[in-house]
């Protein structure tokens, strides 16, 4: 599968989806003008990946800011990951949050409560 990579911009996050290297990351800020359009190719990529996933998929979210429309798109991505998990493959979501940002931490807990897949909260020091 072809690697999907978007560089980080003022209003959109860094995205790396690489099945061969087993690297899955969405990081930075996400407040696109058209959130649905931004996430559509990402969701399409993940849906395609789901038809033939790796043995273990570790999906990293390392967002410092995201708008509510992005929250909705994150749920859509998590639901695909949940399906991969239900089909008997190992999946882990790592939710990285700045250790002094309780709102991002809370968001992680809310996402974890919606889906049924292993979900790990990972604090880090943010400068």
């Amino acid at each position: 599968m072809e690697r999907l990579e978007y560089q980080e911009r003022d209003d959109t996050p860094l995205v790396i989806l690489d099945a061969e290297k087993n690297e899955f990351l969405i990081a930075g800020k996400s407040l696109p003008e058209d959130t649905g359009a931004f996430f559509k190719p990402i969701l399409n990529w993940l849906n395609q990946y789901a038809t033939n996933p790796g043995e273990k998929t570790v999906f990293n979210f390392k967002l410092i800011y995201f708008n509510t429309a992005t929250s909705k798109s994150i749920v859509d991505l998590l639901l695909v990951l949940e399906n991969i998990h239900k089909n008997g493959n190992e999946v882990l979501v790592k939710w990285h949050y700045p250790d002094d940002d309780e709102d991002i931490q809370d968001s992680g807990e809310e996402f974890a409560s919606i889906i049924e897949i292993p979900f790990e909260q990972v604090p880090y020091e943010y400068e």
Binding site: D10, D11, L31, E33, D34, T35, G36, A37, Y65, N67, T68, A69, S71, K72, S73, V75, P98, D100, D101, E102, D103, I104, E110, S113, I114, Y126
Partner: protein, 195 residues
């Protein structure tokens, strides 16, 4: 001669405006069309100014967050008056004010709205204002789970999220302009103490 008189009036207005802003702790004021590009520019400004403050990362992010949600609400849902219907040109634009006083930040927005949307918006705002912290969380999760992105790219989460991030009731007014349009003013306050 008439022009000179206007200039003098403008100069006086600028001074009065400046002192009014200072007296009311207003740091940023914008009047004009609210677009995504303008939104991004405000965010860069706000981010730079917040970084200089002593407020916690969480409080800074909440101010940022509330600004994004309400500006994106306006860029997605704000109405534009048809040229033929313009009674007064000033109403074709929006306004944003951001300020800071000792214990809170405030973000105020104003934009035009069609009168036939007021009932729907009021029902939603009254409902959100009736909920406590836990109920807001439950509503947010429900909407996150069941809601769909609309064709305008909204998730129906914006006002719920603003209420959660501010920890206050949403303060708003509708000012009638004519039989078709009103001006919607929303004031949000963010405590500088974590809640």
């Amino acid at each position: 001669m008439k022009k000179q008189k206007n200039d003098a009036g403008t100069l006086g207005f600028v001074y009065n405006f400046f002192t009014t802003m200072q007296d009311n702790d207003i740091n940023l004021i914008y009047e004009g069309e609210i677009t995504h590009q303008i939104t991004k520019a405000f965010l860069t400004l706000t981010e730079a100014s917040l970084e200089k403050s002593d407020d916690s990362n969480t409080v800074q992010k909440r101010v940022f967050h509330v600004m994004v949600e309400c500006l994106q609400n306006i860029t997605k849902h704000g109405d534009k008056i048809d040229e033929s219907e313009i009674i007064d040109k000033k109403f074709s634009k929006g306004i944003l004010l951001v300020g800071k006083c000792d214990d809170e930040y405030f973000v105020t927005t104003g934009n035009i709205i069609k009168n036939d949307k007021i009932d729907g918006l009021s029902v939603m705002l009254v409902h959100i204002n009736s909920l406590n912290k836990e109920e807001l969380r439950a509503l947010y999760i429900k909407q996150l789970n069941e809601g769909k992105l609309s064709d305008k790219g909204g998730a129906g989460l914006g006002f719920i999220d603003i209420a959660r991030k501010t920890g206050r009731k949403l303060d708003y007014e509708f000012h009638p302009i004519n039989e078709n349009y009103s001006f919607f003013v929303l004031k949000m306050k963010i405590s500088r103490q974590k809640h």
